[in-house]
Amino acid sequence: MSEIDIAVMIAGMALINLAIRWPVYLFADHVRFPPIIERALAFVPVTVLTAIVVPMVLYPTDGGEIQLTWRNPYLIGAIVAAIVSWRWHKLMPTILIGMAVFFAARWALGV
């Protein structure tokens, strides 16, 4: 693609993002969700973030096989991070310990 095409692509992506993110706030005065929807929205953080992360962990190589084994450093790091987070509810230690275990597992397994 030429530089012009790339510029058009970027402008289009920026507009699409805005078209998704802006309207709910823009029309906030007229948007009131029924209680059942409000209760459904309470599940958004745990479901969306989980749906992002779990496939990343189980399929560390894009297009590869599922890796539900202890030889998968992503899985080991994720399990340790989940335990640390569940036990202490602290974000920073979860990130640091999870990363440390991940890199240690990668090094130990030689993958």
Binding site: M1, D5, I6, A7, V8, M9, I10, A11, G12, M13, A14, I16, N17, I20, R21, W22, V24, Y25, L26, A28, V31, F33, I36, R39, A40, L41, A42, F43, V44, P45, V46, T47, V48, L49, T50, A51, I52, V53, V54, P55, M56, V57, L58, Y59, I66, P73, Y74, G77, A78, A81, A82, S85, W86, H89, L91, T94, I95, G98, M99, F102
Partner: protein, 245 residues
């Protein structure tokens, strides 16, 4: 018990606490900015184009998909469609937070929506849930947005600079930072059984659907999880209501 004190927080205090709350997710996003910058250069984009994507698109997942699709020779239509489907989750984010921005003027609302990311959403959802709203809470929100934006732009730039020198930086596993961060956000939010069920259903469906185009598995997983969690919660509510009677 300290509700009174919280509602009296100054703008400065909201800004400081917003920055503090966003710092961990900024740290976890930096490898992504770095990898994006390096990968963009490796795929043959100009430094200006890579930088402009981070500054104007400001959506990590969509930016990565766009670069991958460019590499496979996809047209603009496909890239735009991927952006649209991939970022539909922001509709859910906005709907979740809208009650807390409704009283703001349109300039604030525009700013806070255009700058909303996964990370800022997670930070703000937690803040409103745990501490409730406050007169200056939008400064907390704005600080979180600004922190993520500057962080993203800065690390993209560093990635562009390093990109030509460290080939294969995207294979170092740095992106695992996002995995542990999101885990650290999700686990404390699993506060009752319906939330566990919602998360597990979301995980299973997203994993089964991971090969679908445009990361549709992500959206399907989220919707299935929301449905399952809500259904269980409604059943519990009805049972609780009939017990009282």
């Amino acid at each position: 018990m300290t509700t009174k004190m919280k509602t009296d927080r100054t703008i400065g205090s909201e800004i400081g606490r917003g920055l503090l709350a966003t710092l961990p997710v900024m740290i976890s996003a930096f490898p992504f900015g770095l990898i994006f910058g390096a990968l963009g250069i490796a795929k043959g984009l100009s430094p200006l184009a890579v930088m402009c994507m981070s500054l104007f698109v400001f959506s990590g997942s969509a930016q990565f998909i766009a670069i991958l699709l460019l590499g496979t020779g996809s047209g603009l239509g496909v890239i735009w469609l991927a952006t649209l489907i991939l970022n539909l989750r922001h509709l859910l984010y906005a709907a979740t937070l809208v009650d807390h921005v409704r009283h703001l003027n349109q300039i604030w609302r525009f700013t806070l929506s255009a700058w909303l990311t996964d990370e800022t959403f997670a930070v703000m959802e937690r803040r409103y849930r745990v501490e409730g709203d406050a007169p200056h809470a939008h400064w907390y929100y704005l600080t979180s947005c600004l922190g993520m934006y500057l962080n993203w732009g800065f690390w993209t730039f560093i990635g562009i600079v390093l990109g030509t020198q460290y080939e294969g930086i995207e294979k170092w596993g740095l992106e695992f930072a996002m995995v542990v961060t999101f885990i650290g956000i999700v686990m404390p939010a699993l506060r009752a059984r319906p939330y566990w069920v919602a998360a597990i259903v979301a995980a299973v469906v997203a994993t089964l659907g991971h090969a679908l185009p445009f990361k549709l598995g992500l959206m399907l997983g989220a919707l299935a999880g929301i449905g399952a969690g809500l259904a269980l919660q409604e059943i519990k509510r009805r049972n609780a209501a009939s017990d009282v009677v």
